[in-house]
Symmetry: D2
């Protein structure tokens, strides 16, 4: 297992293929610092006795102790621990911990490559390739992001129907030594600070869409890849320092006729497994949200509670009702993930067949519970912002700039008029409101909401998953029996 320093050192040696604001930038560019700082916590955690047990696992391949973010879940306990590790680490940043995409993609591909290799027309030994990559992933303690979201072009058209066939990443050439891919994956979190990228399809695929059924791994600085990076960093503070600097990036990862050797290809052309890869990554990722979203709620509850305390209204029924709503959202989301973990099995849902065994035995969380939890917490984010706005009042929206707060001509007056709770030092109140504004009134705040809403699948995607997988016919049978109607089978 690596340290934060080793991870950072390797980033410094990578090829320059990041574009930002009109220039090529280095992976240790100043704007990357707070992003790397967040990821660094996932390395610190395994060396910290307080979290070592939670954040490490024993590799089922090698028997070595590895970072849990690189583990293939073997049983429900692993799923429980992934959920709890995620919540624990997110609580250190009040936001996303960034490293879940790798573990979620790895667990999905682990199953898909295993099944696809059975295909008589498999283009290569998908699962054998995968195991080699996986072993290195664990051994070298890599940070891996997952590239799933295509640009999608005309939204109501399928990949094969698009005017521009490149709006979904696809194979444009098959060679004896590998494949050439073209297209762009977008909104790819942490791609600018990851060692490698796992690429999976974006959606269920039909016959005729074989070129889109492709899964592979590449180094993030690979030839033929350009990343156009967008940063979501907090503005630096000069006087009222935060407890931790956090930041986020995402990339347009552009595959400009990028060559991938066969040994890095884990699926190529099997449309059914391609669709499963898409759904399975989404499923594991929605399970991760059952850790991070409750953690976000923890943060929102803390912000709401402190805002109410500073405003002197913590005991009003109005505020208690809003706190209760926030707690409900967070803990219902957590319990959905908890139940999904506990019911985890090496099975997936097939339309028309129900749950069937899939993969080499890795534990897959229950899909219905993952989806209902993710949908609940994703849809709630704007209402959470409303609650924070309601409790805070207008103050954070017009808060003085740091330099005015320390300007001798204005400092005393501002401190006098900013203080609302005589029991709390005004400096503490100022620090609080600055951080409150970070979470509610910054551009970063808004993009966080978009991530929480659409990341891992928009609410409508969860609705589709839920209604297509739930046993609605079985519920009709309950009604038929009670209504005295003929049973389903006799119809």
């Amino acid at each position: 297992m690596r340290t934060r320093a080793q991870y950072s050192e390797k980033l410094g040696k990578m090829n320059r293929n990041l574009y930002c604001n009109g220039e090529k930038i280095d992976r240790l560019d100043e704007r990357q610092e707070s992003v790397i700082n967040v990821m660094g916590l996932t390395f610190d955690a395994v060396w910290d006795p307080a979290s070592r047990e939670l954040c490490t696992a024993v590799s089922h391949l090698t028997g070595e102790t590895i970072n849990r973010f690189n583990h293939i879940h073997q049983n429900p306990l692993d799923l429980h621990k992934k959920q709890d590790m995620t919540r624990y680490l997110c609580n250190k940043v009040g936001s996303c911990i960034q490293r879940c995409m790798g573990i979620d993609a790895a667990n999905a591909i682990n199953a898909v490559a295993f099944e696809a290799q059975k295909s008589p027309r498999a283009k290569t030994r998908y699962y054998d390739n995968w195991l080699k990559w996986l072993e290195r992933f664990q051994r070298e303690d890599l940070v891996v992001s997952c590239a799933q979201t295509d640009v999608k072009g005309e939204r109501l058209k399928r990949p094969a129907e698009q005017t521009d066939p490149d709006v979904y990443v696809h194979v444009v050439e098959e060679r004896s030594d590998g494949i050439v891919v073209r297209g762009s994956k977008v909104h790819i979190s942490e791609a600018s600070i990851s060692d490698e990228i796992l690429v999976v399809p974006n959606r269920a695929l039909l016959k005729g869409e074989e070129e889109y059924a492709v899964v592979f791994a590449v180094p993030s600085d690979y030839e033929g890849i350009k990343q156009v990076v967008h940063f979501h960093n907090n503005r630096k503070r000069e006087h009222y320092q935060r407890g931790i600097d956090t930041g986020y990036s995402d990339s347009y990862v552009i595959f400009d006729d990028c060559f991938i050797p066969w040994e890095r290809v884990f699926l190529c052309g099997e449309v059914e497994h391609g669709g499963i890869a898409a759904l399975l990554f989404a499923l594991f990722h929605r399970h991760s949200y059952s850790g991070c979203k409750p953690a976000m709620l923890d943060y929102v509850i803390g912000l709401a509670g402190l805002a109410a305390e500073i405003n002197g209204i913590e005991k009003t029924s109005h505020v208690r009702e809003m706190l209760s709503e926030l707690i409900m959202t967070g803990e219902l989301g957590y319990s959905a993930g908890y139940t999904a973990s506990d019911m985890g099995k090496p099975e997936i849902y097939f339309p028309g067949k129900g749950l069937v065994p899939y993969g080499p035995g890795g534990c897959i969380p229950n899909s219905i519970y993952c989806n209902v939890g993710r949908c609940l917490t994703g849809e709630a984010v704007f209402h959470e912002q409303e609650i924070l706005c309601n409790i805070a009042g207008g103050m954070p929206a017009t808060f003085p700039y740091e330099k005015d707060l320390v300007n001798p001509e204005t400092r005393a007056l501002l401190e006098k008029y900013l203080s609302r709770n005589p029991k709390i030092p005004v400096e503490e109140q100022i620090k609080f409101w600055l951080t409150f504004a970070d979470f509610t009134l910054s551009g970063l705040a808004a993009s966080t909401n978009y991530g929480a809403y659409h990341g891992g699948g928009s609410p409508i995607m969860e609705q589709i998953a839920i209604t297509s997988q739930y046993d609605i016919e079985g519920k009709k049978d309950i009604v038929r029996a009670i209504a005295g109607m003929a049973p389903r089978s006799s119809k």
Copy 2:
């Protein structure tokens, strides 16, 4: 374990203390039939191989196999099974199965009597009395209802402040051989068909409210008790028979200076334990809702699905979105209960102390998860009715009467104009809409909503439980660390 017939036979021998619509009625009165029919399912279940394992348990007192409804939960698995048994049986009636109050009260009192007996000022051997009663409860397979809700008078006043001290049930006299109680418990489900009634306080109690801290058991037909009964039965059908007849009753259980011998008294005067009895019954009961409310949602989903199928709109995105909402509510409620079961421990929350051991070892579900689940599903019922109304359209509200449906002058015309889906026989469609109307457009339907909303505690009671027990200060600590504020301890 008894049979349905043995249970009913015993009811027939009880004293006549039921009042309904101006007259005294027998316990085997016609209006009681469908109510007894529902309860009978809990007896049938232990003799049916399909449900015997789920619906029985091994008594920790005697080692005998008993009806699970009379069991003291020994571990999380017992809680899981109680939840699943409840959902399973409720699915047979599309509504409440009625017998959870006994098990929930018994589990609460089991802990309270144990702790209260330790008090140096205990009026009697509460726990010894209790164990004797409990052993008989299990051995004789009794149906027991729990009387908690007082009439409460002026709602913002405490018991001791009321103009009429009797609006909360209280001890008006202590004698050497027992106590005399006065007051009325209201909305007491199944009291008219129960063998006995367990009485617990309605709320947390303060010093000076000792007379209200009373817990005891009485036969339902006891001297000094009058029950004024309200029935919630479906109207009988003559032509289009239901698959099962269901009905419900509740009672004003009036204690008109009722004498209770000491051996039936399990608490008398210990206000702290009295409050715990109130909260603990509510807690176990909210856990039961994690079984029955998902079952209700199962029924609602089935009704919505069939209505959409008959109306030919099942595939519209509008309907899928509503089905998804219903599924989310049901399964989030289930997962909250599942998590509460899995985290069950012989501990309760004390304000200022957090979780502390309580009782002789019976397993108590996690309070936060019980409450968030109950609150979610309770608050959802009117919206569920809206969804059903939306999908059904106006038809069920103006559906022809049964006799018009069979009148030769109108039958053919009505069948012609009632049919919406040529693939489903019109008789099936008619049976469906009649049952749909039972659930949405009858007086019974409306009272079911009131029960689902307020039963086991109104949403505001769950909000109070949630915000008073949740670790909000811990969440503030997360914010303090990230904001760079001083830690709590140093304040």
Copy 3:
């Protein structure tokens, strides 16, 4: 103008074509009494000096003073008065006043017949026929219901695509002296107590659907018509009398090859005008909802306020917030109707053309404001029931039967335990809760919700009207200008 007595006397003389519960019934049948009682208020109102001015109008045809329910709106003031008259009269019953369908259909047909007569292929002198009928409608002060809703069969199919062509009312034969129509209109309120019925199409129509583009008037007891009637009456009280007896009916109005002479036909085959007739009746009717729904909210606010007062919680912030929500719904609905009235013009919206003159000059309310108001108040009804349930608590759901309340064995005990507010006599409290239960816990209550939700068009119908008529492109232009995009015209 007639009196209540004259109206009722005429009903007594009509042919028996009402079917209810398996038998033919008379129009003065006991079940019709409270329905007729409600309609009677619209006759009383013109003789009562307090309401005479509001509830009468001067006929633009004859210059005579007529009941405003039979008036063709000449200007915005007429629309204002129709809205206020409706609210005023509905406040007397806490529900629907029943007579708006006639005025709404008459105003729609008045415009449609005028325009359709211009058609060179008109089958008869539609508008001349109409003026004759209208003159009698006003002179004889008729009660007229409007039959619009077809049974619709398979909901996603158009009329011409149905397996059974009769699921929309249509012309099956054209003769020299008239037409023969077949089909059934359902949920037709007040048809059992109306003098005549106006029939209009149910939806926009396309070429090839000419037989469905038919508008005509028939006496309610006409040959070839059968009504299957469903009553929504409150249960009679014996001891705690209501202030007014109210009830409602609706009918399946079945046209069993019913012959209509040409002089009663106002449209026959012009599909475009047929669609306008459908939309225009709906528009006028949605305008009526801007009177009745605020009146329903007035009643709900009163119920909520009194329930809170009796429960002693009127001053809590929780209750104030809910009262505020109810007031908002009612007054926003009212203001939408008010604005629609004030902007009324003899114009209608045509897709692709915008607002164009239509009809002989009658004043048509603004469609957007009618629709936004109707949609708001329609969608709110289940939430209103939730608020009432929340404030009331469980009491009304389990309230003792009247006979128990007067039984000497239980009366004193029940009165003792039912009283919650010592400042209000218990008899008043009892009367209140019985009436509260009428509105919330009866079958009548539930069917009222269905009527308020779907009557005049389900929320989705208003959404379609809103988005298809609103100038969304104009709003895009605002964005284009601010974004610096090219203007629309240059595209």
Copy 4:
């Protein structure tokens, strides 16, 4: 009437009392430019023939044509025009037009000073002073902001109970020539670009709070005033220019023992009128929201419509339903303001007295309708952001930087992958998404939401206004009559 240039020229001559980011800045500082640009539109409008009639009025004092923003409403038509002018001008910026505070405060003070001057203990000739100021306000075409919101300190304590008495602006000394005031008004929009500031109390006041009942006018650069300014400007664009540059500012306006001569004092010590000044400014301001919030919705509808068009999903039922919701919110808000205008009278509501004449005849909009409209549209803003997020998808949150969009190494690739609708040039799509992000994902966007939510009074303030002024007892009477209860008077 002035021109934009004259207005700006005067700003350039004012004293430097603006503090921003640690330094004193000039009123023509670069950061003020886009703020001044927005205000400039209100000057342009009177010279533009398209808006001259709407945006001017005839002064009731002088008979001169004046900018309508400086007019005292004489009749409902003036209120209608103020509403429409506000919507019209806000449509040019997609946000706030900034100048309503002056007109709203002027109309409030006009009434209050008139009534307060009648007091035998009036400290000066309030109304005479006011008329002099008003005449100059109109003649010199001044831009005036209104300072109402105090810092308020401990939120549940009244002004007189605060630890620091200065947390509400108050009179600390009365002299023969004037008064000395101390305190700070916060979130004061446009104060940094206004000519003068009108100061009014923040809340209803009680006896003993006389020093807080103070109303006066001061130049914005007055001695004794410091403004700490916060800017809400969009980031400048270099390549994809907006159609208009907009920006906003607000100030902490600090009265550091500021001397106000009597001739500028319009109220001093009359607590009842002080409370009315607070409520009346809020009332006029909530009426202004009935113009600006529908305009904001117009903008949101345009954004949503274009986002859906570019994404190719405009026809989906999902999107139509969301568009319908947005239209409903905007037009219900508009119709509430329209109705409030139409019912405008020179009357205000007094607790216990109902509506009573107040002021010299200026037209005051109906309070209930102003409040229900403002509450609806204020509470909706976060949900509007959710709808925009839902329709847009993740794209705007991770949109490339301008310089990447024009960097030759990335431009072609980005344009290829950003295009979603082949019918719209990609440059147009880019401009759209950049502007979309301005409104949804910038710090400015978030502060706009806070303004829309809390500005003019938080939703809870409207709820209080609604429930305290609405005739709830009258609604109870409706219930009493129908329930057969005794009428109110006889109780």
